[in-house]
């Protein structure tokens, strides 16, 4: 998801000023990475240029930028397309880990130790997310859950692979 797409979705819910957009983005999408104001206005400029938003109000008395932005039909179509298109399942972590396991087996190092080190790393990340979950609101909790379920899936793969290491070593070493 790009910042631009998030802005379009926020503007589809209702017209907003640049400042409101930043606040709403930070609240709903930018948990770890709040936007800089520079990003807000360059993104809005690009959306205006591409005809995806329009300015429907200009309250100059309210501050340096009190323009109110509204999404266009083309912008709504972009949001629709974004929501309809499933995300590509990410397989990269497993691939990297698998490559390390094979690398360890090929070079006579301990693949079990590679898996143990990764398990520790994953569990440390999961503890941190669980702590964060305990302090957050529902949105925070669900975002942390998403990460936790992914890390949990990786850990299951680690355990599964640990059981098959001897067999895999025989195959790799031929």
């Amino acid at each position: 998801m790009t910042i631009a797409t998030a802005f379009l979705a926020l503007l589809e819910s209702r017209p907003r000023h640049g400042y409101d957009l930043k606040q709403a983005y930070d609240q709903h999408f930018g948990h770890d990475r709040p936007l800089h104001y520079g990003q807000v206005y360059t993104t809005l400029a690009k959306l205006l240029r591409n005809g995806l938003v329009t300015v429907d109000g200009d309250e100059t008395s309210g501050g340096p930028d009190r323009k109110r932005y509204t999404v266009t039909e083309a912008g709504v179509t972009d949001v629709q397309r974004w929501l309809e298109e499933p995300e590509t399942p990410q397989q990269y972590l497993q691939s990297n880990l698998y490559a390390k396991v094979i690398g360890a087996l090929l070079t006579g190092r301990s693949a079990a130790a590679v898996l143990d080190a990764q398990r520790d790393e994953h569990l440390t990340a999961m503890r941190e997310l669980t702590r964060r979950k305990g302090q957050g609101d529902l949105a925070d909790r669900l975002i942390c859950d998403h990460a936790l379920f992914h890390l949990d899936a990786d850990l299951r793969w680690l355990e599964h692979t640990a059981v098959h290491l001897d067999e895999l070593a025989e195959q790799v070493r031929g």
């Binding site: 301990s110 079990a112 520790d120 994953h122 569990l123 503890r127 997310l129 669980t130 936790l148 949990d152």
Partner: protein
Amino acid sequence: MNALLTAEGLHKAYGPTFALAGADLQLYAGEILSVMGPSGSGKSTLLHCAAGLTTPDQGRVAYLGRVLSELDDVRRSALRRREFGFVFQFGQLVPELTALENVALPLRLDGVRRKPAEQRAAALLERLHLSDKAKARPGELSGGQQQRVAVARALVTEPKVIFADEPTGALDSVSGEQVMDLLTGAARRSGAAVVLVTHDARIAAYADRGIVVRDGRTPARAGIR
């Protein structure tokens, strides 16, 4: 820092099948320790030995300097009742007793009179958002509610250590999360340490640190080279 509870070199076999083959565990006051491992790895046996529920064939378990195997049955039972709390996978509540009576049971077994025991039980049920279920019997409660009653029962004696063996193993993820929030929150407030046996990494993530049991051992981490 001295450990609250130490298990060293534990071996345990059931007939020809070994469950533990040299397992160690150290638990410090107030910490939550996860014990992970695949099914059949010996993690539950390690918990049972550490809690004095099972006597190991070899090795020793010491709680605050007292070696559990050197205590007679009466003293070991008294220590378990007063110092330890337990939560198991299936609650193990007494079906004929109400939730309130189940929570008060460890106090009653320890000679506390009915009224003060049930007052303490009622206060705990309130803390675990179960006041309206005080008069319900286990069969009338959902799995998650039963486990919350089991957590209350484990906490009622204000134990120093809570042993939890797959406490969410029979629950869906939302109920499991509620039980873990309540268990770990209550333990942290009261300063109790927790030994948390689980095969589920999301549950283990509630712990401060973890150990892994494999083939009855708790191997030290080896280097990659």
